[in-house]
Amino acid sequence: MKKKILAVALCLVMVLTMFAGCGSKDATTGGDTITTFNVGFDAEYPPFGYMDDNGDYTGFDLEVAQAVCDLEGWELIKTPINWDAKDQELNSGAIDCIWNGFTINGREDSYTWSVPYCDNSQVVVVAEGAGIATLADLAGKKVGVQAASAALSVLTDEEAQKELGDSFGELAQFGDYNAAFAELAAGALDALAIDIGVAKYQLNSRGEGFVILDEHLNAEQYGVGFKLGNEELRDIINADLEKLYADGTITALAEKYEIADMIILGA
């Protein structure tokens, strides 16, 4: 019996070490020799990070990250993460940064931030002809918002739009945009509060049937989030972002993803 337990324990240890050996050794802080750059992103967040028609991960943020790596001679590792677990992924060292339409506002003290590179607003999407034209019309309505998203914090933050949020009949959290838009189309939700970039992508892709309210919930900015204190890596990325903006790379990419009017670098 004891032998059996020992044998199984040994097997487990072997399996573990085998797997652990496969783990990539990515240098992060204090990096004398950084060779890889491990970007964590939500692969269900077009146009900033998503899967393209060939099944490769792409998006505005990932292409900029690739450009940074090209400058530095690093290898880019794209690590899809579960948005709810992004802090554990970052703090445990599984990823080097969160770079994926990551809103700075409200999270200033939780991460070491790059320069803001993109102006983002939270907007409200409603079904066409639903009779909702202003934010005030949302009173008593059922509004959907993505779990752990910036829109959610805007609508629940005293200093932001909590008052508006409280006027809703219900603030319902959803997991992914497909389900949210399906609910909106079916009338289960009256409105969605989401990032403007996402809203534009969704409306482009879905065609008719939805409108974005002219009135925005707020204005906020995207940045690259690093683990608190990782200023060394942050400084490299900041310098590269300026370089890439100066040589037109970022502007070209922004146009490709139809978010050119949102870029705020070089201001």
């Binding site: 019996m1 097997c11 496969c22 783990g23 692969a43 899809p80 554990q88 599984a94 992914d176 497909n178």
Partner: protein
């Protein structure tokens, strides 16, 4: 995205799902056997520890357990967990399923009539021979239906690796669905799971028939 690309991507994801499934089974069945022995141990300390373990594994969501197994080493010991995602998933699934299998094995072993042990004892079989030759083969037949149930559940549960964004079939289907703004990949994913489970059910059925030579 063309349907061919989608199928190719989902197939690659399916391979990862199958690898989670296979490793989990390979590890959790022997582990479940050990846990069952621990649960039936006359040593009160061991049997109580195992009882608590089983109760936690069955009483909390598997998704939560996966998060704990993956992030726990970092949160508790500050370990770097780069590259640990796949092993964490396998460990999480294996210790969870071992708990379920252990209870199935225990009830199977305890349902064996005492007379079988006594007959083997009087015929001179050692404890080890009695278990391996007389008890285990009969227990295997008895526990096959509940084990089949668990196995089929495991196929579907592999999709919980989504909680760690491991790109098995379901995570991929969700990502494609997000980029293409359509539910189609999820439906295709459903068909994949169904076909996989159909094969699993057939295999278990075959084994059951093989064991049907006695009653």
């Amino acid at each position: 995205m063309s349907i061919m690309v989608m199928l190719k991507l989902l197939s690659a994801g399916m391979l990862k799902s199958i690898s989670i499934f296979a490793f989990t089974l390979i590890l959790s069945i022997p582990l479940g056997m050990l846990v069952a022995f621990g649960r039936m141990s006359k040593n009160k300390v061991i049997s109580n520890i195992i009882k608590i373990y089983i109760s936690i594994m069955r009483g909390t969501p598997l998704m939560l357990q996966l998060l704990v197994v993956y992030f726990g080493p970092n949160l508790l010991f500050g370990m770097n967990i780069a590259g640990y995602k796949y092993p964490a998933i396998i460990i999480g699934f294996a210790i969870n399923y071992a708990a379920y299998f252990a209870e199935i094995f225990r009830s199977g072993i305890q349902s064996m009539p005492q007379g079988q042990y006594e007959a083997a004892d009087v015929l001179g079989y050692s404890k080890r021979q009695t278990f391996m030759k007389i008890i285990l083969p009969q227990v295997a037949k008895r526990v096959l239906p509940p084990v089949t149930n668990e196995t089929i559940t495991l196929v579907k549960d592999t999709s919980l690796a989504y909680a760690l964004s491991y790109t098995e079939m379901f995570t991929l289907a969700k990502q494609i669905a997000a980029a293409q703004t359509t539910f189609a990949p999820l439906f295709i994913g459903g068909i994949f799971y169904y076909v996989f489970n159909f094969v699993v059910a057939e295999v278990m059925n075959f084994i059951e028939r093989k064991m049907d030579y006695y009653k």
